[in-house]
């Protein structure tokens, strides 16, 4: 048995060698900098845990963490809600309509995040389309504060995240056998009951996957919050860049970066459990 493995390794050795350049590239340009970030967070300005102690003591550090978590949670919930409605519609649509829907969901992905953020600024600012139309209609007298605050950030982030929410949920919904839904109705369940008792539970794996994906993506968002937050509402990524590039506080910046990576890894660890749950449910009867 063991000899077989060794023989196989020797036989396949040539192929493994082909992976070497990619492996080296990853270690030199990806793993090493991350380790360096980790090291700096413990070494600057002086060796020790001083940077990490600030999580407990420094108000500004706490505020940025809480703001980020709040924005990401709200963004995730809204993106899931909108994405679920979209995925549901696409799943139930006919073959032709489904293709158009998918295209509409995917097109935003091809547009630069910068362009989209500025588009939202032009729509949401005080003299923007929305405020002017509302004022023109006489619904409001003073323009609403729609941008350069948390609201603006969330609008931009949800818009960016909806396709990422749709894709895993759509995959999960399309695995649901239509016959199960018909069976449920045949047994006397109303449309609402079919949805609540059969469709929703069976689509949960996709919802969880989409939620984790959107949440992790949101945590590291930089451009959208930077533009739509107007420097007043800071999220983690912008805060890190501020510490390192403007305030030259490498220790603090790398500490937050490490915290971000750890949070993502922990979320992923939880996620992998849920994937097992999904296998537990199986792909149907």
């Amino acid at each position: 048995m063991r000899r077989d493995v060794v023989a196989k390794l020797r036989q396949d050795g040539g192929w493994y060698a082909l992976l070497l350049p990619a492996f080296l590239l990853l270690s030199v340009f990806y793993v090493t900098p991350i380790l360096q970030v980790l090291a700096i967070s413990f070494l600057e300005p002086e060796p020790g845990f001083s940077n990490y102690q600030r999580i407990a003591t420094n108000l500004s550090v706490q505020r940025v963490i809480i703001t980020t978590l709040r924005i990401c949670t709200i963004t995730t919930l809204l993106a899931l809600l909108l994405g679920y409605a979209l995925s549901y519609t696409i799943t139930l649509a006919g073959e032709r309509a489904r293709r158009w829907w998918l295209l509409c969901v995917l097109v935003p992905l091809w547009i630069s995040v910068l362009v989209r953020a500025f588009a939202w600024v032009t729509l949401l600012r005080r003299q923007g389309l929305i405020n002017q139309s509302l004022q023109g209609a006489g619904l409001i007298t003073e323009p609403l504060e729609l941008v350069w605050n948390e609201f603006g950030i969330i609008v931009g982030m949800v818009h960016y995240m909806v396709p990422y929410a749709v894709l895993p949920m759509l995959a999960s919904m399309r695995e649901i056998e239509p016959r199960l839904l018909a069976a449920a109705r045949g047994m006397g369940a109303s449309r609402a009951q079919v949805f609540a008792r059969v469709f929703l539970p069976l689509s949960m794996p996709g919802v969880v996957a989409a939620g984790v994906l959107v949440f992790i993506f949101s945590l590291g968002f930089y451009i959208t919050p930077a533009i739509l937050g107007g420097g007043k509402t800071l999220m983690v990524a912008e805060w890190i860049s501020l510490q390192i590039l403007d305030l030259i506080r490498w220790g603090l910046g790398t500490m937050m970066a490490t915290l971000l990576v750890v949070t993502i890894l922990v979320t992923l660890a939880v996620f992998s459990r849920v994937v097992n749950m999904r296998r537990l449910f199986g792909g149907g009867a």
Partner: protein, 355 residues
């Protein structure tokens, strides 16, 4: 008699394609009806129209004389066993069976009592907490049956309920299904393409082809007196002899079939061209009878219970099924044999296009 279902000119077409062509059918309360036909014959479409999943393009559907054509499926609430069972994979066996009760808002205690009774009915006590994927095909099938019967539906619809099972299990479950039907006394409507299943399970069989009900009747009546060539061919096997009526007597007619003059019971006009359906098992080898034919054995297959023999004769190849036990002869390829059949063995059938 609990309930009678009636189809009046029920039709379904998709664009130019006619799936079901005006089906008229009356199902007696408490009986077991099977819709039998090859794939694409429209049998499943009829079942789906009865269940309410497919909207008919014309015709009416009556339950106990009440028009239910416009009712959505959840208002009809017929029990249904789907092809592949359609058990909910995220629910245990007990939750699956409780589903129809839960959506009706039954209380917990009542629900549990009925689920227990249903599990007992299909002999699955002790499996209540399993998930569907932890069950064998036959057990899943029984869960589907229990779930379809637990809310006392007026009608139980079965869509190819046994098609996913292997042959031996299928035979067992046929037996069980029949016993279950006797026990619950409900009206069952079954769809299958398996003629053996149709014959063994049903009180009545409706045979379909190309979206039309060709013939309906008790299994024995259908087998013995097929109305058309298609029915004779689809239910079991048959030889078809074409001939012209040359003589019409008080009891017999004489049919000229090639060089042969055959004596048969039946009514026909003189000079009429008729098609006779003759079952292979009604022909005896190496014996005398009303009609006698000489032939040469083309092939012979031993099937345990009997021999399936094909003989070359002056009127074309003829299939014969001969019981193997105490057979008069052991047919060998190339051997010349005499075969015979009684005057009442064949039936005159209409010549439709046999699939």
């Amino acid at each position: 008699m609990s309930v009678a279902l009636e189809l009046r000119g029920l039709a379904k077409s998709y664009g130019n394609f006619v799936a079901v062509e005006g089906a008229d059918l009356a199902v007696e309360g408490g009986s077991f009806l099977t819709l039998l036909g090859p794939s694409g014959s429209g049998k499943t479409t009829i079942l789906m129209m009865i269940a309410g999943f497919t909207e008919p393009t014309a015709g009416r559907l009556l339950l106990d004389g009440r028009d239910i054509t416009a009712l959505p499926p959840e208002k009809r609430a017929f029990g249904m066993v789907f092809q592949g069972y359609a058990l909910f994979p995220h629910m245990t066996v007990a939750e699956n069976i409780a589903f129809p009760l839960r959506v009706r808002g039954l209380g917990r205690a009542e629900r549990e009592g009925k689920v227990r009774a249903a599990l007992d009915l299909v002999q699955l006590m002790g499996f209540a907490e399993r998930l569907p994927k932890q069950l064998s095909g036959g057990q899943q099938q029984r869960v589907a049956l229990a779930r379809a019967l637990v809310f006392d539906p007026a009608l139980l619809l079965l869509d190819e309920p046994l098609s996913a099972l292997d042959k031996k299990l299928r035979a067992e479950l046929q037996e069980e299904l029949r016993a279950l039907h006797r026990r619950v006394g409900r009206t069952f409507v079954n769809v299958t393409h398996d003629q053996e299943e149709a014959l063994s399970l049903s009180d009545e069989v409706a045979i379909l082809n190309h979206g039309r009900i060709i013939q309906k009747g008790a299994p024995a009546a259908l087998y013995e007196h097929p109305r058309t060539r298609f029915v004779a061919d689809f239910l079991g096997k048959s030889n078809f002899l074409r001939g012209v009526v040359r003589e019409v007597g008080p009891e017999h007619i004489a049919v000229q079939c090639g060089p042969l003059r055959l004596r048969h019971f039946g009514a026909a006009r003189l000079g009429e061209e008729v098609l006779l359906s003759l079952r292979p098992e009604k022909i005896a080898l190496a014996q005398e009878g009303d009609n006698v034919l000489e032939g040469r054995v083309l092939s012979s297959a031993y099937l345990g219970a009997g021999h399936a023999v094909v003989l070359e004769t002056p009127i074309g190849p003829i299939r014969v099924h001969q019981p193997a036990w105490r057979a008069a002869v052991e047919p060998a390829v190339g051997e010349a044999l005499r075969m015979a059949w009684a005057a009442d063995a064949a039936t005159i059938v209409e010549d439709d296009d046999a699939a």
